[in-house]
Amino acid sequence: MYSKDGNSYFIVDSHVHAWDATPANQANRYGEGFINCFYDYHRNLSPADKVWTLEEFHKQSEQRIIQDLFTDGYVDRAIFQPTYLTDFFVNGFNTTEQDGVLAEKHPDKFIVNGSWDPRDGEAGLDKLSELAERWNLRGVKLYTAEWKGDSKGWKLTDPWSYRYLERCEELGIRNIHIHKGPTIYPLNRDAFDVADVDDVASAFPGLNFIVEHVGLPRLEDFCWIATQEPNVYGGLAVAMPFIHSRPKYFAQIIGELLYWIGEDRITFASDYAIWTPAWLIERFVDFGYPEELTEYPELTIQAKKKILGLNAAKLYDIEVPAELRLPESADGAIGSEPVPVA
């Protein structure tokens, strides 16, 4: 919980990791390149006093994670989003099991999400069922740019992907987090294209599709799809830290999202350990549009409460203390009405 000026905010950090990118776990130059790329994001967008050394960035102790998220970071509940990357890291970068170790020690603090990969075929479906039972999964994180042998990625519209989404429905896994990356098959297409989200969101109206990084670098395509599909959400991981380095751009992203999809379908995330949540939350609560941006919907305290925690709490059935909820009238149904398409 975070309190400022008489207002209290229930905080759900919807995208956190407990990763191991130490040199001993790096399987090859790709693993090294991957964590260095993350580290450049961290250095590029963090305030100077929040920049870690590369060694600190490689892996965080349990104590540090608890400290950063919950002791210093105001977070009430954090959602682990695994990123396996088993072609890049010996034991994987951040698997469900690695996250699960921490979550079992702190069951009141974490939610563990799983993952699947359509290229694993029938065997992967069985594995998903086991994973769901073992960790009581309510969500999965999918990384479409994951390498697997000779393959450099996949699309949500691949035939096997539909089988996995059907299995998610059967297993009660309602929240599908999607992270696009630079590679897919075929490589000549735009890997960041979110059109496949549109197709599966229509085909599976009972599932929620949370597009991580609000579709960046394809914000406009994401907004357009989310406007038409009421079960598409925008996750703010990676967009949040612009609040420091490029506040006007951050304001434009938030303004565009409020304009196109409204305050009920945007979820806060730090993307820990790329960034820590404390400063992001403090800045966001203080944040207002720069004077020259007059065209956007107001960013109210109510909108901030929803974005920082209440929206994700609904998606994951997290119990919110009565004093941190919104009055019933302000607490509208999930999702805004889709606009008619000409």
Binding site: F34, P47, P182, L187, N188, R189, D190, F192, E220
Partner: protein, 240 residues
């Protein structure tokens, strides 16, 4: 000459010249032999865009009079070896990544040229709306009339004309008419946008423009931390 040639090569996603983005790390010229070194903001930048920039740089330098031999070397990228070898041997994209691609990159290039064109249109339209134009007037106007109006506005007219000329160039690249009689605001295929459709089309184009500008800022910032360059002025604030 070599720098000028490289300045014609743009990052298709960011719609900016690679010279201005800081992607040209080094140029070496020895008589007719030219070697160019390119670098990108991250190790994992999308390989299709990376390939386009390397191939375009190769073609641009090779077209400079007096140049006999060109080497373009992309450095510090996961697919550096494949791309450098593929471009040098004119293998095309599918030949460079056998089994991983089902076509060349012209469709991708076209998609991003169209996005850039829409963003440029919106920028010009926004200036005219600010100067008091109505949607109806915008839908009925031509490139020639718009240029005259922009030249007459007092608000940073030079910048407005730079943006206008950029729009005209984007139009020409797409093979759309860019003469003074042509409609100012057109669909991807050159059909004028009607006054009814214009508000939504411009609104969408604005989001496209914000996405391109934001992505550009992110990439410039990433390049600066990756290579210890000065923080880009006017794009990112200095850290701290």
């Amino acid at each position: 000459m070599i720098t000028e040639a490289l300045a014609t090569v743009r990052d298709p996603e960011l719609d900016a010249p690679i010279t201005e983005l800081g992607f040209v790390a080094a140029i070496e010229q020895d008589g007719g032999d030219v070697t160019v070194e390119l670098r990108l903001p991250t190790y994992f930048c999308a390989p299709n865009f990376a390939y386009l920039m390397v191939a375009d740089a190769y073609d641009a330098v090779a077209a400079v009079p007096g140049v006999d031999r060109v080497v373009v070397r992309l450095v510090d990228h996961f697919a550096s070896d494949e791309i450098n070898t593929g471009v040098a041997a004119s293998r095309g994209f599918t030949g460079t990544f056998p089994g991983l691609a089902d076509g060349e990159l012209e469709e991708l290039r076209l998609t991003f040229r169209r996005k850039a064109h829409r963003a440029c249109q919106e920028q010009v339209a926004a200036r005219l709306l600010k100067a008091g134009w109505t949607m109806l007037a915008l839908a009925g106007t031509t490139l020639g009339e718009a240029r005259a109006a922009l030249a007459a506005t007092r608000l940073s007219e030079e910048q407005a004309l730079i943006e206008f000329e950029r729009l005209r160039r984007r139009r020409a690249e797409l093979g759309l008419s860019s003469g003074p009689e042509a409609a100012l605001l057109v669909q991807d295929d050159g059909t004028p946008i009607t006054a009814v459709d214009l508000p939504l089309q411009l609104r969408m184009a604005k989001t496209t423009r914000i996405s391109i500008e934001g992505n550009s800022g992110l990439c410039r910032g990433l390049l600066s931390v990756r290579y210890g360059l000065p923080r880009p002025a006017g794009v990112d604030q200095a850290v701290g």
